[in-house]
């Protein structure tokens, strides 16, 4: 297992947030964690990223216990994680401080192209749209060549059209770069569109209700019977009738 959660529990003061989470994520897997807001899914991701220590239980990556953040596993926030005082170039090269200049420049160019921001190298984040800022942040994460990406509702602040585009972009990049991805979202549709497996969590205190394998090949047909079946299965698992 690439990432292994073993009996992870978490509390903030008297409030129990996570209960007995045991979950293994395989190398190269795209794993989505969905659940109602406040269920502790972000907390779980922060524990895996080394930003929080669990109250009990452990997380290992490649068999090593996680104790602190590490540049081999990069956390992607909503687009506000980009540094507003750096240009697109500066942001993407941020983690490459130990690289010789020309190699660094080459790497930055490569990732600017990968996320489709050619021509915006010298732009500042305030001149970019939300979707473009999110691309910068993904490129900044990928540029240091991490083996795990943690994404915490990365597209939550984007409009629905941009969100759809960003999902297919992310899938394209994931296939090209072969990273292990843990992706937290409260959007069930999003999880079924992206993931190899969807981890469905309960309301707080969060525990795993069910893990759903999404056995549909990419690109996924969002009106196919299997897609709808799996989506409704997850809706049901969370306790929502799929109607408005």
């Amino acid at each position: 297992m690439k990432v292994q959660f073993t009996d992870v529990s978490m509390r903030f003061g008297a409030m129990e947030v996570l209960q007995h989470i045991t979950l293994g994520v395989e190398e190269g897997e795209f794993c989505c964690i969905v659940g109602p807001s406040g269920c502790g899914k972000s907390t779980l991701l922060n524990i895996a990223g080394g930003f929080l220590a669990p109250a009990s239980g452990s997380v290992t990556i490649d068999g090593e216990p996680v104790t602190a953040p590490d540049r081999r596993r990069i956390f992607v926030f909503q687009e506000r994680g980009v540094f507003p005082w750096l240009t697109v170039e500066g942001n993407i090269g941020f983690g490459l401080f130990d690289m010789p200049d020309d190699e660094r420049r080459q790497r930055v160019t490569q990732y600017i192209e990968l996320v489709g921001l050619k021509g915006f190298e010298k732009s500042y984040p305030r001149e970019l749209s939300g979707g473009m800022k999110q691309r910068v942040e993904v490129a900044r994460a990928l540029a240091v060549n991490p083996d795990v990406l943690f994404l915490d509702e990365p597209f939550g602040a984007l409009d629905s059209i941009t969100r759809l585009q960003m999902r297919s972009e992310l899938l394209r990049i994931w296939r090209a770069e072969k990273k292990t991805v843990l992706f937290v979202t409260h959007d069930i549709e999003e999880s079924v569109q992206l993931a190899d497996r969807v981890v469905v969590m309960s309301a707080r205190p969060g525990h795993i209700r069910r893990v759903v394998e999404i056995d549909i090949a990419h690109p996924r047909d969002l009106s196919s019977r299997r897609y709808i079946e799996l989506r409704d299965l997850i809706f049901g698992e969370i306790g929502l009738a799929h109607q408005v």
């Binding site: 990069i74 506000r80 540094f83 750096l86 941020f94 500042y124 305030r126």
Partner: protein
């Protein structure tokens, strides 16, 4: 589009013309008031002549430079100490808890209250004046730097931690640029305070500068035209200093920190 241009063009020239008109109207009102009640204060024309006289006697440049010299040294010394101190206090909760109460008690004390102590320590002269300016800028700069550190978006600090960049780069690439927009505003305000204080300090402790000019002109023969000339020069130079500091706010790497233009 054309309609928009037509609408916006008068606004541009208006934004330049109106301030000038305001100044002109004030000058005219001043002249009228003075001619109606002579002896109130000297009028603008007399004051203009007094400034000319200062220039001819070589005092204009000498006094302006003397005041700016004191401000420069006091203010720079305050920057050199306040910024590292504010950064350190902002990053260390314990240090801040220990030192913040002292800062808060010192803050409401006017820098002018320190004049006797300045004279006790440094005698009558330049050093005392510089010390007062230093004190006046030090506290607001320290407190502002500390608060700016507290206001850094935790997401940016988390990202810096995640990429595990070395401590030095964490300072130069994250901490300092993150506080810079707020710091520039604080620097601008502190420079304004320093300029206020230099004039007051020169009224007591030295024999050159614009503050000295005001006191000296009154003592040496009730030259109220020179008194007001001094006041006008102080005001104009204050505005120029502020405009220069404002230019810093337009640097590309800090513009994110201010409301959208």
């Amino acid at each position: 589009m054309t309609a928009l241009l037509l609408l916006s063009r008068p606004n541009v020239s208006r934004s330049r013309l109106l301030p000038l008109t305001g100044i002109l109207v004030a000058l005219v009102a001043w002249q009228i008031a003075v001619s109606m009640r002579p002896g109130l204060i000297p009028g603008p024309i007399v004051v203009g002549r007094a400034i000319g006289e200062l220039a001819v006697r070589g005092l204009l440049l000498k006094y302006v430079v003397a005041s700016l010299f004191r401000v420069t040294w006091g203010y720079l010394a305050a920057l050199v100490i306040a910024i590292p101190l504010g950064l350190a206090l902002g990053m260390m909760k314990l240090g801040e808890m220990a030192i913040n109460p002292i800062l808060q008690v010192l803050r409401p004390i006017s820098p002018l209250a320190w004049i006797p102590i300045a004279i006790l320590w440094f005698g009558v002269g330049d050093i005392s004046a510089i010390f007062l300016i230093f004190l006046a800028s030090l506290l607001p700069l320290t407190v502002a730097t500390m608060n700016a550190v507290h206001n850094i978006d935790p997401v940016h600090l988390a990202a810096a931690r995640n990429f595990d960049i070395p401590l030095r780069a964490r300072m130069t690439d994250v901490l300092i640029p993150a506080i810079l927009p707020q710091l520039i505003v604080a620097m601008r305000i502190a420079l304004g305070v320093a300029w206020l204080v230099v004039v007051a300090a020169e009224m007591i402790a030295v024999n050159s500068g614009l503050g000295f000019l005001i006191v000296d002109a009154r003592n040496a023969g009730d030259r109220y035209d020179l008194v007001i000339a001094g006041m006008v020069l102080i005001g104009v130079i204050g505005v120029v200093l502020d405009l220069l500091m404002r230019r810093l706010e337009r640097l590309d790497s800090v513009r994110w920190g201010y409301a959208a233009e």
